[in-house]
């Protein structure tokens, strides 16, 4: 069981490494979106400092969603997915492994690069830790929830736009808690409450989302 999970993760990472530009695109998208806000809103430092948590989190949300449509589509096209459905390894484990690989490729780099954006927005350096931690806890939830949407929209026309309509409303709690943790920490009250709630969401999503993803995969490929 764990062999199957490790196998899927290693394979997905290898595929991602062979197509490095895809990974870089999502990361660049995050940086560009975050850089567009000051151009649209103005360079007033206090305003930028106030909106930075929300901007970074919304950009992370969009960037993580951007790569979702590729999560199962290649496997679906070349028949790998059918082999996974037929194989002996439980589908939920494979689904969780795919979501984990997606997070390693799309969520983890965001958490690493976000302090750089925070620097541009002139956030106090004491917040970098909270920012990275909130992204580390929040982006796996995005990958898990998004994988449900990706599995449901597998092989549909206009899948990408539809995917965003399905997934974005479900992302709202993560956005509120993620940006909220930063705002609380910035206000000097510590963001532990929100970080703990993000952790709770991660636990719940990790427990139930793989089941929903595998049900969706079975529906989409019958």
């Amino acid at each position: 069981m764990l062999d199957a999970a490790r196998c899927v993760v290693v394979r997905d990472l290898l595929v991602a490494w062979r197509r490095r530009s895809d990974v870089a695109t999502a990361l660049l998208f995050f940086v560009i979106v975050a850089s567009l806000f000051p151009l649209g809103i103005g360079a007033e430092p206090n305003l930028l400092r106030a909106i930075a948590p929300g901007v970074i989190w919304v950009a992370a949300l969009l960037s993580s969603m951007l790569s979702l449509s590729r999560l199962f589509s290649a496997d679906h096209a070349d028949g790998t997915l059918e082999q996974m459905l037929l194989g002996a390894a439980p589908l939920g484990v494979i689904a969780a492994a795919k979501a984990f690989a997606h997070w390693l490729v799309s969520g983890l780099p965001l958490a690493l690069i976000a302090p750089l954006i925070a620097l541009q927005y002139d956030l106090p350096s004491s917040l970098y830790g909270v920012l990275a931690l909130s992204l580390l806890l929040g982006t796996p939830v995005l990958s898990l929830l998004g994988a449900i949407g990706a599995a449901l929209t597998l092989g549909l026309r206009g899948g990408g736009v539809l995917l965003s309509l399905l997934v974005l409303p479900l992302y709202v709690p993560v956005l509120i808690m993620g940006a909220g943790s930063l705002e609380m920490a910035a206000a000097g009250m510590g963001g532990q409450g929100q970080l703990l709630l993000l952790g709770a969401m991660l636990v719940v999503a990790a427990a139930f989302a793989p089941w929903a993803i595998s049900a969706a995969l079975r529906i989409s490929s019958e």
């Binding site: 449901l152 409303p169 909220g180």
Partner: protein, 231 residues
């Protein structure tokens, strides 16, 4: 009891027509009574004047908007569990009515907010925000249903989405409420609990039943169309 007798679209089709007619008539009568109570019997509110009377549309509509989503998810779960064709059709038929009530609740809420709070829209209110997200969830459900050509796959996929949505609604609600307490700027408190006059309450309940009957009638008419469409 033959629970599954009416699970077949053929046997359900005439029954749906009969129920829809009765419920439609009941909806008309109840709405007339409810609106009469609302406009002529219920007293004018001491603080809000006549503007409060939109409550007779607003509150039943928002009740229905949430309740229909739960019913829809219930049908969806039934459809996944028993693999009955009719359940998916019922879920599909309920979605537009639910979305309509959600929209009506938002719209009347904003009409009510203008004279009483002085603004059309407040980002800080948990109920407003969750109602808006509920509308997006309805749209997602309908969009997924419409994007899949095979009706059986469409039913099953949107059923799963509805179940994921219904699990998420409480989480969304509480996180939005948290967001609300975080941004302490909310200038208006919506959690006032007025001692409501009995006639006001009666009008609201009658209107809620009218909306129930309307929803049942419209959903059944729509399910008849879906049965015909799918042959």
């Amino acid at each position: 009891m033959k629970w599954f007798w009416y699970a077949s679209p053929q046997t359900f089709f005439p029954l749906a027509g009969t129920i829809a007619r009765w419920c439609g008539a009941a909806a008309g009568v109840l709405a007339a009574i409810g609106l009469y109570i609302g406009f002529f019997v219920a007293p004018t509110d001491a603080q809000q004047g006549e503007a409060y009377r939109i409550i007779f549309i607003h509150v039943p509509a928002s009740w229905m908007s949430m309740f229909i989503y739960v019913v829809m998810a219930g049908w969806a779960a039934l459809g996944l569990a028993f693999n009955t064709r009719l359940s998916g059709m019922m879920a599909q038929a309920l979605a537009p009515t639910g979305a309509l009530f959600t929209f009506v609740a938002l719209w009347t809420g904003s009409l009510w907010g203008r004279p009483t709070w002085g603004t059309w829209w407040v980002w800080g209110d948990a109920r407003l925000m969750s109602e808006l997200i509920l509308l997006f969830l309805y749209f997602g459900f309908m969009a997924l249903q419409a994007a899949i050509d095979d009706p059986r796959r469409a039913d099953r996929a949107s059923a799963l989405l509805a179940i994921v949505g219904v699990v998420n609604i409480p989480i969304i609600y509480y996180s939005v409420q948290w967001f609300n307490t975080l941004h302490q700027g909310a200038s208006v408190s919506f959690t006032r609990a007025p001692s409501m006059a009995a006639t006001m309450f009666a009008g609201m309940i009658v209107m809620a039943f009218a909306f129930w009957m309307y929803s049942i009638a419209v959903a059944l008419v729509r399910v008849r169309c879906i049965i015909r469409e799918r042959g």
